[in-house]
Each structure stands twice: as structure tokens, then as C-alpha cells.
């Protein structure tokens, strides 16, 4: 398959993830959208790595680090979501507005 095919899949995944983040139904959905966005980026990195052999293992390595950081991010963010729920009794982002004016 040509590179463009992989990029197209990644682009659609990215848009779906962005939709989830932007729709802001609840905080867990937003985080799931973030994971989708990171995965789309990973697919791009890996595809470019594959089709440009002079990049050696750079894309794969970057994707590996992205996965590690996604794990750390998910742990922290979900702990924050739990705290927000016990504090505000809701996880709708629109209802958590203490920091707004």
C-alpha cells in the first residue's frame, strides 16, 4: 500500500479523536479522544519510518516514547478525573468552571 493510504487512515482517526475532544461530553470521553489522536500520530510516524529507510528506526522509537508518555498521561489524567468527580459530583467539562471568571 502507498504511504498515502496509511496517512489517510491516520487523518480520519485524528479527526475522530478531535471530535471527541471538542464535543466535551464528559472528561473520560475527552481522554479517550486524546488517546485516539496520539494513536493517529503514531500511525503517521510508523508509516513515514517504513517508507523512508534513511530514517533508520527514528519513527518507531518516537512512537515507542509516545506510547510511554500516553500511559503516564492516562494515569495522571484519570486520577484527576476521579478527584474532580469527588469534588464536583460531575465530570462534564462544561460544569467544572471554578477556574473561569
Amino acid at each position: 500500500m502507498p504511504l498515502e493510504a496509511y496517512l489517510a487512515v491516520a487523518a480520519v482517526l485524528f479527526v475522530i479523536g478531535l471530535t471527541m475532544v471538542a464535543s466535551r461530553r464528559n472528561l473520560v470521553y475527552v481522554l479517550m479522544g486524546l488517546e485516539l489522536i496520539l494513536n493517529a500520530a503514531n500511525l503517521n510516524l510508523v508509516a513515514f519510518n517504513r517508507f523512508h529507510p534513511e530514517s533508520h528506526v527514528d519513527g518507531q522509537m518516537t512512537a515507542l516514547f509516545v506510547i510511554i508518555l500516553a500511559a503516564a498521561e492516562a494515569a495522571i489524567a484519570l486520577a484527576i478525573v476521579l478527584n474532580a468527580y469527588s469534588h464536583f459530583e460531575t465530570i462534564r467539562p462544561d460544569d467544572i468552571d471554578t477556574m473561569k471568571d
Partner: protein, 169 residues
Amino acid sequence: MATALFYLFGAGALFSAANVVFRRQAVPAAIWLVTCFFFLAGEFLLLGFPFLAAIQIMVYVGAIMVLFLFVIMLLDLQAHQPIQSQFRHSIGGALALVLVALAFVAASGGQALEAENQPAAPEISALVEALFTRYLLPFEVTSVVLVAAIVGALTLGRSPGGSDHPAKS
């Protein structure tokens, strides 16, 4: 073969991702996200990165999504609408599982998958060598990040009073 698998994995990933968006309940959405990650691991396999595919399944499906499911169940988002397990859902899940397993077996089965116009993917030994030479500093920094994440999650998970009892939620 490779083309058919690409379309299978790609369509599966996009279909699962669309389902994540359109599910009202959180648990089915998370399960669809797991399916999406499985299909993406298939794409990595197809591109010739079996190590990354394994890491994707282990870390994303095995760690991150389990964490998501735990939090969703702790939050009790659907207190009023219990999750109904329907028979047709289990049929669909079993079918998807068999399909993905078959595709993985087929994808790992031979070199016929390698397209002619694609250069060979780097070996795992090359990856490891780069990890411990050129990427040594990021690799070590990663451990610091992970420790910081663990400490942060533990701190956030404790109750504000500082007692040893976990936060009520």
C-alpha cells in the same frame, strides 16, 4: 494479501473509532476503543513493526484501557441504566476476535506480505541498539517520567486529609 489486510485493519480501526464516538454508554465506547487499538496494532504489524504492535497491545490495551475501564466503573456513570449484556453483542465480539486472530496469524505467517516496492523494515536488534546508544538519554528520562507519573497518581488518589484510606469516589 497485504492490500486486503490493510483494508481490513484500516476499515476496522475507523469503524471502531466511529463507534467510540457514537456510543452513549461509556463502557461500550471503551471496548470499541480497545478494538480500534487492536486493528491499529494490525496496521503496525502490516508495516513490518511487530515489536511496536506487541507494545501497542500490551501497553494500550493491557494497561491504559484497563485503567480507563476501572475509572469508568468507579465513576458509576450509568447508575440508572445498567449495562445489558445481549447475546448478539457476544456474537459480534467473538466474531471480531476470531477475525483479528486470523488476520494476525496470516500477517505473521510469511514473507509474502512484504510488498516488492517497499524497503525492508529495520530489525529489532537495530531498534535495541539505537535505544541504548543514540536514544539513551530519552530512555533514561522516560524512567524519571514514569516515576513522576506514579507518584503523581498516588498523591492525587489519596484523600485530602492525608490518611491512608483511598479517596472516596
